[in-house]
Structure formats: C-alpha cells, structure tokens
Amino acid sequence: MPPSANFVAAADPGALVLRVEGDWLLATAAELDRRLRALDLPSGRQVTLDLAAIERLDTAGAWLLKRTDAALAARGNVVAVANVRASLAPLLDQVWTHRAGTPLPHPVPAHHTLVGFVARIGEVTLRLLRRAYSILGFGGLVVVTFVELLRHPRRLRLPALVAQMEQVGVDAMPIVGLLSFLIGVVFAYQGADQLRRFGAEIYTVNLLGIAILRELGVLLTAIIIAGRSGSAFTAQIGTMQVNEEIDALRTLGLDPIEVLVVPRVLGLALTLPLLAVYADFMGLLGGCLMSWASLGILIPTFLEQLQSAVGQWTFWVGIIKAPFFAVVISLVGCYEGFNVARSADSVGRLTTQSVVESIFIVIVADAAFSILFSMLRI
C-alpha cells in the first residue's frame, strides 16, 4: 500500500489527527519526505499521530515520524502518538531515544579562499624544506654508519649486499637493455631523418654516440631504477615498519640502518654504474642497427665514425654520474620507507612519493653535472 500522511477530522473539535498509512520504509522515504514537507502544519493545537494504519516500518520511516513529531511540537502543538502496535514499539523506541537534531554539515575542504591558497603554498614550501633537511640528516646517518662499517668491515653483511645487487642489478638487465636499445633505435631514426636533408647522414653516429654516452644511457637507467628499485626499497622498509619489524630489529640490538640501508645503498652504488655501461652498449647497438637499416651505414664504418666522434671523456662523463644517482635513489627510497606510519595506505602514498622525489632529484643533479662539466670544459 502506498504510504501517506493526512490530517483527518477528529471527534473532539479543536483536536487534530494526523493519520499515517502504508509502508514507511527507506524505499518510500523520498516520496514521504516530499509529502510531509508539503503538509500545512497547524500550531497551538492538540495533535494525535495515529499509527494504526502503518503496515511496515523501518528506521528511515521511524525517523520521519520522529521528525514530524518534533516539527509539530516545535510549533506549540501538544502531540500524542496513538495506536502503536507492539511489533513496532521496539523499533520506535530505538530510533526515538536518540536525538532529533538536524544533521551537522559535511566538512568543506579548506583552501577555497585566496588566503587559504597562499597559506597552502607556504605550508607546502615549509614541508619541502623540512623534508630536504630531514633527507640530508638521514644521509648523514648513513654516512656515519658506513664509516663505522669501514672500521669494522666484518660487520658488513655480504649476503645481504649480494642479494641486493642481484635484485637491483641483474634482475633489471632485461628492461634496462630493451629500453636502451629502443631509445638508440628511435634516436638514430630521428637523427638520420633530420641530417639527411644536409647530406650529413654520417653525423647521426656522432649524435648518437655523444647523446647516449654522455646523457641518455645513464639518465634512462637511473630513471628506470628509481621506478623499479627505489619504490621497492620504500615498500619493503615501509611494510617492515607497518609490521613493527623495524622496532623488533632495534629491540634485538640490531641497527636498522646497518642491516637494511647500507646494503641497499652500497648495492645500488656498485651496480648502477655497471647497468649504465650496459645501457650505453645496448643504446649504441640499437643505433648501430638502425643506421645500418635506414642509412646503410655498415658496422665497421659506424665504429670508425664513433671512434672519431667520441672523445676520451665522453664515456666517463656519463658513467661518473651513476654512483651519485644511485646514492640519491637508494637514500630517498629508504628514507621514505622509514617515514611510513603504521598504516597500509601510507606505504602506497610514500612509495609514490619516493619515486617522484628520486626522479626529480636525479634530473636536477644531472643538470647540475652538466653545468659543472661545462665549467670544467669537459
């Protein structure tokens, strides 16, 4: 039966009866709400809420009854509820004993004002500075631990170091190799396309050699490793933090920096240069094959031209950056891992943050190296 609420005449003149009927359920609540709001509520009268014709009732219906009751009472009516069936009483009790107040508004996110916007910029800046300071402090801690380990080399955990080198180095070879090879192919193709217009196709090799050896090989490797291993460091250490494993290490008298961070930093610092050499090789291989395929430059010609294009320093300028990038990636990765609060969602958030931060710092550092090298005229 469709729900309704109507005023009907009462026996006693001056008194009013609000007769409610039908299913007062969640499903009919929207319809009921509309009708109840449309009701012309009296004031200062004797009103009886007659529930005799209610068929089914749930909490939403009970709430609407209570709201109506409160609205009538607020207008100075004397309200009585009549004909409550025994089966409905417990539910009415349950809902009516709680407050009838209007719901509190949903919180509105701040920063919608100009002042809020400026305040937010300030907050973010301060947080950034604090963070940079904190990462620097963490780096110092690792250096101190490392120096300590140099004095007692037996405490260096070789199995952990080797395991890290395998995970970050050997296991990364397929993806680093493939991507470098493809970048070499793309670079050779684009370079050849442009240089052909001047009849200078052969300089594609110079372009390729300089770009890959100086910049692309190492930068690409660093970015891949930041996404692959930097995030893994944060996730691994963060999960240990959530499980209280880090605290367990401390109570067992082990230094988490020594056990967890040093093998990762050292492992990456040793393997990233090797990976960069491998990436250089794969990039040049891709470029070489592409030059041969699209320009017809034979491999001996390619190598000859490469030798004349590439100076003594070109290769080393690229490789020398790798250990620095490695330290940045592993420090940021481990640092963010230790920052994880004891909740699962902070692992995800900080893992993302660690990747973004380490890629950012790697590229900034690369730019700084470029400036340095140009000042040194290398």
């Binding site: 809420l49 939403a60 407050r99």
Partner: protein, 277 residues
C-alpha cells in the same frame, strides 16, 4: 524460539572450500533462522571468516550451495545480486570504512547507490544511523582516521545498517576492543537486533559475546560444522569443543553470565513523551 522450516533465512548445503590442495571446509551444512543471533567459532585457520565470505558471496566454494533469503547466491545474475545486496549488511573486521569519506558520507554511499532521495533527507537518515549505533553527533563529520578502533566499528556498523537490512554479518566484531568496549558493543548488537528485528551471523573468538548474545553457536571443527545451543555444546564430548568451552576463559565467561546482574543504576529513559500505545 521459532523453529519452523519456513523461517530459514540462510541455508548452506554441502559447502566444500579448498585453497590449492588444502581443504578448509568439507561439506558444511548450516541453516540460520530469522531473528536469531548465530555465532560461528573455531580455532585459527578453521575458516570462520571464509565461511562468512562464502555466505556473502565474496568467495566461491568448490562445491555446495548457498541460499540467502531464498536467492541462490552462487548462481544469481547481477540484477538478483544487486537486489540481494540490499537485504544484508556486513561489518568487516576493522570497519572497512572508505578512508577518503566522512562517516556520514560512508553511510550515504549505499543510500546514494540504491535509494535515490533528496540530499537533506539523506543527511538526516545518516545522522539517525550515527545516533542508532551510539556514536556522538559530531562523529558523522569525522574521517575514519580521526576515530578510535571502537568508534570505527560502530561507524562500520552504521554503514552496514544504512539500507535497513534483514541480515547482519559481523566478522570478529569485538576483536581489538577493550573489555568494556566489547561488552558495550555486544549490548548494542543485542539492542539493534531486538529493535530492528535483525538476524545476526557473527564470526567471533570472544567467549563473552557468545554467552551474552548468541542464541545458537556453530563450531567449525575437523572441517565440518556442529550447530547447537550453548547448553548442547557444553555437553559435547569432542575434545576441541570441550577444551574451548571448558577452558579457563570459557569457564570465566560462563561464570560471569550466571552471576546475578548488578542492580540497574538508573532506569534508562524511555522513549520520551510521546510514544504510548
């Protein structure tokens, strides 16, 4: 207690659950009657939560059938499933509240999905549920991270009750609560069951809950299930069941239930001025 066959709301027949080669359930039969509170107990790893998830339809058993309110859970299509979802509420272990939404918005998620209604009414209904589970008014505005564990459970319960379900599933409702909070929560479940006419199925480890509010108890043991009243389980000679109910904790829980209840400090204020029959 009603025991007629018609009033069975959940019927589980011959359910077999396997994870890889490991069999967790080997032919489980269970019938839940309307209006009762059924506790599911068992040692760690006996698949209490798994059984609960199977009934809800989150886990497919290797064999057997599950019927909830006359619908076959395992063979229902999407539309039937959606319809059925509105008739039961689930409280997950830590509330499983959506962390990016406030408590009130969490409660409004199922309302928004299933019952289109004006925004102010929805807010009112959400506020009613917040009050119903015994949370303070301002809890509706808070985010789950700002609540204590006990409050999160209550908020999760409010969301489970959003659509006025007939059946309520609780997974370890009192785990992680302090004894006072746990006792309060038991009382809340009992009150809501009486007021809203709920059928409650709960997986639990808490012997106090079992003695306080459960009408019947299903014990998962040897990959099978044994269902009965507490009195029946107390007489059961099975070694695990005996150890469970007659161990030191079991005895303590029994003893506390048999003590005369302390004198009521003050009669709870009744509905107020206007409800009279």
């Amino acid at each position: 207690m009603p025991s007629d066959q018609d009033d069975i709301v959940i019927r589980v027949l011959g359910v077999v659950t396997r994870f890889g080669t490991q069999t967790v359930h080997d032919g489980i039969d269970l019938a839940v009657r309307r209006g009762e509170v059924l506790g599911i107990v068992g040692g760690s790893g006996t698949g209490k939560s798994v059984l609960l998830r199977t009934i809800i339809g989150l886990q497919r058993p290797a064999a057997g059938s599950v019927e909830v309110l006359g619908h076959d859970v395992l063979r229902s299509n999407d539309a039937e499933r959606r319809e059925l979802d509105q008739h039961f509420g689930v409280l997950f272990q830590d509330g499983a509240l959506f962390s990016s939404l406030t408590v009130a918005q969490n409660i409004e998620v199922p309302l928004r999905e299933h019952c289109p209604m004006p925004e102010p009414l929805m807010d009112e209904i959400a506020a009613t549920k917040v009050g119903l589970v015994g949370l303070p008014d301002d809890a509706g505005q808070k985010f789950p991270a700002q609540l204590s564990g006990g409050m999160r459970k209550r908020a999760g319960l409010a969301r489970a009750l959003a659509l006025d379900p007939e059946i309520l599933f609780l997974d370890e409702p009192t785990a992680g609560l302090d004894p006072i909070g746990a006792a309060d929560f038991d009382k809340l479940i009992g009150d809501l069951k009486a007021g809203l006419g709920l059928t409650v199925v709960m997986a639990t480890h808490d012997l106090d809950s079992l003695f306080a509010i459960c009408d019947r108890v299903a014990v998962l043991v040897d990959k099978k299930i044994r269902v009965g009243t507490l009195a029946e389980h107390l007489r059961d000679p099975h070694p695990w069941i005996h150890a469970y109910f007659h161990g030191p904790r079991g005895r303590a829980a029994q003893a506390s239930e048999q003590l005369p209840p302390p004198a009521d400090p003050a009669p709870v204020a009744h509905v107020g001025h206007s409800v009279s029959s």
